[in-house]
C-alpha cells in the first residue's frame, strides 16, 4: 500500500480576498444571475439560480462587492462561469438566514434542505442525491474520510464538527423516515454516535476503496445496483449531515467547507477550513510548492478514481474535499500477464481483465454479457495491476462502446 500520509495540521483560510462561485455545473450550463456588477452582497445571500432538472439556488459565501463573472475550470476540463465577489471580510449575515420556525417535522426539514439547495450536495462516486420523493429504506452516512487508508486525518482536527454531524444525522433520520446508520472507521471511537442512539457500522478502510460498498451491501443483505436509489438506499457524506444541521438550526446554506490539500510536490500537507469559492492556487501558495518542481499533476477527489485538473486555476466547491498536488508517477505499462489480480479485487464482481480483452477485440456482445455497466469506476483494478495498465480506462472505453 505504500506510505500513509498523516495529516496533523489544520489551517483556517476563511478570509480570502475574493471568492469564485461556480454558476453552472457539469449537467447544466444555464443560470439566472440575480445580482449585478458592483452590487453589495451579504453572507448567505442568494446570488443566482442554476437551471437543471430542478432549480438550484446559489449563495454568496462572503459579504462584499460583486466584481463580475469569470471563466474557470470547474470539473476536469470543463470551464464554466464563476461569479467573483470581493470579500469585505466582515461576514455580515443576510437577513433571510433564519432557522426553521415552528416544529421540526419531516416535511419542514425536507423543505428547508430543498430551499437551501442541499438536495444537490451529492458527490461523484457511490453517493446519492437527496430524493425525498422516493421511498427510502436505508440511509447511510459516511463518516470515514475519503482516501482512507492512503491519507490519515488526525481525528482531533475533525472533532470540532463531530457534534454538528451527530445532530445532522439525527435530523436526517427524522426527515428521511428511513433506518439510519453511520459508517465509521473501525479503529476510531464511535461512542459519540452510540451515545446518541445512532446505529454505527464499523468498516475496515484497509480494504482499499471497497469498504463502503462491502459495508452497505452487507447491511442490506443484497447486491447493490449501479444507482443506490434503485435499491431504496440513500448514501451521503458526513459533510452533508453537517450541512443539514446548519440549514435546519441556523438556516445557513453551505458557505464553508473543509478540504485536504495533499501531495508530494508541496512543502507540507494540511487540512483547511475554507469558504466556498476559495481559489485553489491561494491554498497551494499558502503551503508552498517544493522548489525546482518541474511537473505536477493536480487532481480532486479520490486518489483511486478522482479527476485530474488542468492546473491549480479553479475554485473550491462543496463537492471537493481532497486536492492532490503530486509530482507525476513515472512508469510505463507492461503487457498484461493475465494474472487476474484485477478480476479478484473488483468490488462489484465483474471481470475487468475480460472486459479489457473483449474491448481490444471489439466484441460488443461479450462486453454486454460481462455486465460492464455495473462498474462503479472505483479504480481498484488499475491500482492493483502489477503491469501498471490502466484497466479502468479500458473498462470506460468498453462502457462507451456499448452505450
Amino acid at each position: 500500500m505504500g506510505k500513509v500520509i498523516n495529516i496533523k495540521e489544520s489551517r483556517d483560510f476563511l478570509n480570502p480576498d475574493k471568492v469564485y462561485i461556480p454558476l453552472a455545473s457539469v449537467n447544466s450550463k444555464y443560470y439566472d444571475l440575480l445580482v449585478y456588477e458592483g452590487d453589495e452582497v451579504k453572507l448567505g445571500e442568494k446570488v443566482a439560480e442554476r437551471f437543471g432538472e430542478v432549480k438550484t439556488p446559489i449563495f454568496s459565501s462572503v459579504s462584499g462587492e460583486v466584481i463580475g463573472v469569470e471563466e474557470l475550470e470547474y470539473h476536469s476540463g470543463i470551464v464554466v462561469d464563476h461569479l467573483v465577489i470581493k470579500n469585505d471580510k466582515k461576514d455580515t449575515i443576510h437577513e433571510d438566514i433564519k432557522p426553521i420556525e415552528g416544529e421540526l417535522t419531516a416535511r419542514n426539514i425536507q423543505r428547508k434542505i430543498e430551499e437551501l439547495g442541499i438536495k444537490g450536495l451529492a458527490q461523484r462516486g457511490l453517493y446519492t442525491r437527496f430524493e425525498f420523493s422516493k421511498t427510502v429504506d436505508h440511509l447511510f452516512v459516511n463518516a470515514v474520510y475519503q482516501n482512507e487508508p492512503f491519507v490519515k486525518v488526525d481525528p482531533e482536527l475533525l472533532s470540532s464538527y463531530q457534534n454538528e454531524i451527530v445532530e445532522g444525522v439525527k435530523l436526517l433520520a427524522k426527515a428521511s423516515l428511513a433506518e439510519v446508520s453511520v459508517l465509521v472507521n473501525k479503529n476510531e471511537d464511535d461512542s459519540i454516535y452510540v451515545n446518541e442512539g445512532i446505529k454505527t457500522i464499523k468498516v475496515n478502510p484497509k480494504r482499499i476503496g471497497v469498504w463502503h460498498i462491502c459495508a452497505i451491501s452487507k447491511a442490506v443483505g443484497k447486491e447493490l445496483s449501479h444507482d443506490l436509489l434503485d435499491d431504496r438506499i440513500m448514501f451521503v457524506s458526513s459533510d452533508t449531515a453537517r450541512a443539514v444541521y446548519n440549514a435546519v438550526t441556523k438556516g445557513m446554506p453551505v458557505v464553508e467547507t473543509d478540504v485536504l490539500v495533499v501531495g508530494d510536490a508541496l512543502n507540507s500537507n494540511s487540512h483547511y477550513n475554507i469558504k466556498i469559492g476559495t481559489h485553489v492556487e491561494e491554498l497551494v501558495q499558502d503551503l508552498g510548492v517544493i522548489e525546482d518542481t518541474e511537473e505536477v499533476s493536480v487532481y480532486i477527489g479520490s486518489i483511486l478514481s478522482g479527476r485530474t485538473m488542468q492546473s491549480t486555476n479553479f475554485a473550491c466547491t462543496e463537492f471537493i474535499n481532497f486536492i492532490g498536488v503530486d509530482t507525476p508517477m513515472k512508469g510505463e505499462p507492461q503487457v498484461c500477464t493475465k494474472c487476474g489480480r484485477c478480476n479478484d479485487i473488483c468490488p462489484v464482481d465483474i471481470l475487468p481483465q475480460n472486459v479489457m480483452d473483449a474491448e481490444l477485440r471489439m466484441l460488443d456482445n461479450r462486453i454486454f454479457e460481462l455486465d460492464v455497466n455495473k462498474c462503479i469506476e472505483c479504480g481498484l483494478c488499475s491500482y492493483v495491476c502489477p503491469s501498471e495498465i490502466n484497466v479502468l480506462e479500458w473498462v470506460r472505453r468498453a462502457k462507451r462502446r456499448i452505450k
Partner: protein, 352 residues
C-alpha cells in the same frame, strides 16, 4: 512549472510486474542450484546441470536477440531480463529434462520453446501454451531414445506406474519417494520435493504465484488418487514426479492460466484430472506436461465462459471440483480393479 494531465488512479499498488517475474526466475535458479548439490552428493555429474543451464540461457538469449533484430525492435538486456523473463524458459527447459540429456537436445528444446512457444505469439504475455512445455515435449517426442533412461535403473515413476496397474503399493520405498537424494532422473527439477513445497509457500505469501491454482491442483491430484487407492497411494502420486514442480511453476503460470477465481479453480481441477488419468490409464509415465498443455488449450475457452465473479459462480466451481474428484476417483478405481469391460478401457486408453 508544468501541469500534466494524468488519468486516475494517482497511486499504484506496491506489487509490481518485475517483482513477480524476478521472484519466479530467482526460485528457478534456487531449484537449479539445489539440484546441482543434490545430484553431486548422490554421485552424479552435477556440473552438467549448470553447464546445461548456461548453454540454454545463452541459446535463448541469442534467439531473443535475433528475433528482435529481424523484427527491428531493439531491446536492452535489462528489458530482456525484466520484461521478457529471459531466464524463465531456458531454466524451466533444463529443469524439466533428465540429467543425461545430450546438449544438442537442450539447445533444440530451448529454441523451440523460446521461438515457437513464445516469440511467434508476440513475446511474454501473449503465449497460449507454456513455452517451456512446448520445447520439452517436442524434445521428449523427437528424441525418445536419447532421453530414455539408462538400462538397469528403474526410476520411482516407473515403479509407481507398475504399482498403479494393480493398485498395490508393495515394494515402494516411501523414503525413496521423498526424492531428497536426487534418485529421480526424469526431470532435474524434481530433485527436492521439500524445497519445492517451501517455494510454493514462499511465493504464495509474496503473491508471486496464485495459491488457489497450486492448492486446487494438489488437492485434485491427491483427492482423486485418494478415492482410487487410499492415503499412501495418494501420497506417493503427489510426491513422485512433476506434480509438485508443476504446482509451483507450470499450472500457476500467469500467462497461460485463466484470469478469474472460478476459472482458475476449474482449470486446476481439469489439469489435475488429466494428470491422474494419463498416469494411471495412459501410456505415458508422466502426465503433468501433457495435462498442463491440454489445460492451456482450454484456457481461452474457460475465459470466455465466465461472466461474473461472485459467490454463486465460486460455489459452482467448488461443487464442480468436488464432483470431479469423487467421480473420477471412483471411475478410475473401477477401471483398475477390472470392474469395467476391458474393451471400454482400451478405448479410453487410446483416447488418452
Amino acid at each position: 512549472m508544468k501541469y500534466l494531465k494524468l488519468k486516475s488512479p494517482f497511486k499504484l499498488g506496491t506489487l509490481k510486474y518485475k517483482h513477480i517475474t524476478q521472484s519466479i526466475q530467482l526460485s528457478l535458479l534456487i531449484v537449479l542450484i539445489a539440484s546441482f548439490f543434490i545430484y553431486n552428493r548422490a554421485g552424479y555429474q552435477g556440473v552438467n546441470i549448470l553447464l546445461n543451464a548456461i548453454i540454454a540461457i545463452v541459446v535463448s538469449f541469442i534467439v531473443e536477440v535475433l528475433f528482435a533484430v529481424t523484427a527491428k525492435k531493439f531491446t536492452t538486456i535489462k528489458d530482456l531480463y525484466f520484461k521478457e523473463n529471459l531466464l524463465m524458459i531456458p531454466l524451466l527447459t533444463v529443469l524439466l529434462l533428465p540429467l543425461h540429456t545430450p546438449i544438442f537436445v537442450i539447445i533444440i528444446a530451448t529454441i523451440v520453446g523460446v521461438w515457437i512457444g513464445k516469440l511467434v505469439f508476440g513475446g511474454y504475455g501473449f503465449s497460449i501454451f507454456n513455452p517451456a512445455i512446448v520445447g520439452v515435449l517436442f524434445a521428449n517426442l523427437s528424441f525418445k531414445s536419447q532421453l530414455a533412461m539408462p538400462d538397469g535403473i528403474i526410476y520411482p515413476l516407473q515403479r509407481l506406474k507398475d504399482a498403479t496397474a494393480n493398485l498395490s503399493i508393495a515394494g515402494l520405498n516411501p523414503h525413496h519417494l521423498l526424492l531428497v537424494d536426487g534418485g529421480y532422473g526424469m526431470a532435474i527439477g524434481t530433485a527436492s520435493v521439500g524445497l519445492l513445497i517451501l517455494l510454493i509457500v514462499v511465493l504464495s505469501i509474496i503473491r508471486a504465484i496464485d495459491w488457489r491454482i497450486s492448492l486446487t491442483y494438489l488437492v485434485t491430484v491427491f483427492g482423486i488418487t485418494f478415492v482410487m487407492g487410499k492415503f499412501f497411494f495418494a501420497q506417493e502420486q503427489i510426491l513422485t514426479g512433476l506434480v509438485i514442480f508443476g504446482a509451483l511453476f507450470l499450472v500457476t503460470d500467469d500467462v497461460t492460466s485463466p484470469t478469474s477465481r472460478e476459472t482458475k479453480i476449474v482449470y486446476a481441477v481439469i489439469v489435475g484430472l488429466l494428470t491422474v488419468m494419463i498416469r494411471t490409464i495412459g501410456s505415458n509415465l508422466e502426465g503433468v506436461l501433457f495435462a498442463v498443455l491440454l489445460g492451456n488449450l482450454i484456457t481461452p475457452f474457460l475465459n470466455r465462459t465466465v461472466k461474473r465473479s461472485n459467490l454463486i459462480s465460486l460455489a459452482k466451481a467448488l461443487v464442480f471440483a468436488v464432483i470431479v474428484i469423487v467421480a473420477a476417483g471412483a471411475a478410475l478405481n473401477a477401471i483398475l480393479e477390472g470392474r469395467i469391460p476391458s474393451e471400454l478401457t482400451t478405448i479410453m486408453g487410446v483416447m488418452i
